[in-house]
């Protein structure tokens, strides 16, 4: 029973470790709403790849596969690189799309204002306030 708890702890620690590293990349490069989603996916994927071949635990798995499983090491390495690249590309796309939608909203407002002056444009006296009026 204790062993099960140990494995659960190990599994959580591994996911959190990779999650943290992945999140660092997300925060520095991406800063997007999909950051955590991709972090979890990446972390779970890495955990699966690294933890699976080990019979004794995730961390020993890391050391086992480079000794005995060259192919698995290669797959893991490629997965990390590809996963990071994919994440960057997808989230960059998402960021670009978001900024485009925001700019478009502002642009549409300006165009509508030119075509038809908005009733929301208040007279100067109403628009500006001094401390005494609040």
């Amino acid at each position: 029973m204790t062993e099960i708890y140990f494995h659960i702890f190990e599994a959580l620690a591994t996911v959190l470790l990779f999650g943290l590293v992945s999140q660092l990349v997300h925060q520095e490069v991406l800063r997007d709403k999909y950051g955590l989603g991709w972090t979890v996916v990446t972390a779970l994927f890495l955990f699966r790849v690294i933890y699976y071949p080990s019979e004794t635990g995730s961390f020993s798995g890391i050391f086992l596969f480079w000794r005995h499983e060259v192919i698995l090491f290669t797959v893991t390495f490629v997965a990390i690189v590809a996963g990071t690249f994919l994440t960057v590309v997808l989230t960059r796309y998402s960021k670009d799309r978001r900024e485009s939608i925001q700019e478009l909203a502002l642009l549409r407002f300006e165009m509508n204002s030119m075509l038809e002056p908005s009733p929301a444009v208040k007279p100067i006296e109403q628009e500006s306030v001094s401390r005494n009026t609040v």
């Binding site: 950051g35 955590l36 978001r98 502002l106 407002f109 628009e127």
Partner: protein, 245 residues
């Protein structure tokens, strides 16, 4: 505002209302803001609503900016701040479109910014005498973020998830450029602290939601806790790096 600059006025205020499917409440929110802070302009950022939020707001004669798709609260607020910066507003106030914020507190919220006491003023539901309608898990979550921010910044914020805020021009400029996207409120506080801006909390009341449903389900709440915790910690690391360079 260009107008206010010409007239030499001290301040101009913009109330930003991010709204997603709030057609039932947005009209009343606008009316109450007009009554309680008549000198302020109002912009509704319609964040890809499927209902008639934009039409209802437009009929009230306020500025309306419409996202073609739903981008989330952070993006909606940022669009409002971009608008505020372009139009030259000196103060921006964020008010939720669901009608839970009490517009009678607007003057309390904006006064410290007007008087130069703080760069950011947060309406705290825990500092007033009013009743805050919330569940125990939500309160625990809020307390957790207060503790986390205190550990990282040394400043105690009793209501870090409050979306009822006022900020001055320096923060409008800062956050128009970069604003957290997902559940942004606590992360914004971290950023404000790290850059040395002054924050202040004022007591506000909050009304129970009468229309629509909360966007925070159980699974979203778990996601929220993880995401925001990560984001706050990473934001603290980021700012240290920026400050050291």
């Amino acid at each position: 505002m260009e107008n206010s600059k010409r007239t030499g006025s001290d301040h101009s205020i913009l109330v930003i209302i991010p709204a997603f499917n709030e057609q039932a409440s947005i009209g009343q929110v606008i009316d109450e803001i007009h009554v309680n802070l008549p000198q302020a302009s109002i912009v509704v950022v319609n964040d890809g609503s499927k209902d008639k939020t934009a039409e209802v707001a437009g009929r009230k004669g306020v500025f309306v900016l419409s996202h073609l798709r739903n981008l989330g609260i952070g993006s909606a607020v940022q669009t409002g701040l971009m608008f505020a910066r372009r139009k030259g507003y000196e103060i921006a106030i964020q008010v939720d479109g669901d009608g839970q914020h009490y517009p009678g507190d607007l003057k309390t919220l904006v006064t410290p910014v007007l008087e130069g006491e703080a760069d950011l003023v947060i309406g705290s539901r825990f500092r007033g005498a009013g009743v805050f309608f919330s569940t125990l898990p939500r309160r625990i979550g809020i307390f957790f973020f207060s503790c986390l921010l205190y550990v990282l910044t040394g400043q105690w914020i009793s209501d870090p998830t409050s979306g009822f805020r006022a900020m001055n021009r320096s923060l409008i400029d800062r956050f128009a450029d970069r604003y957290p996207m997902d559940y942004p409120e606590p992360e914004v506080l971290m950023s404000v602290c790290r850059f040395g801006h002054r924050m202040k909390e004022v007591p506000v009341s909050m009304k129970p939601r009468t229309t629509g449903v909360s966007s925070i389900s159980f699974f979203r709440a778990v996601y929220y806790m993880l995401k925001v915790t990560y984001a706050i910690i990473m934001e603290s690391v980021r700012e240290r790096e920026l400050q050291s360079t």
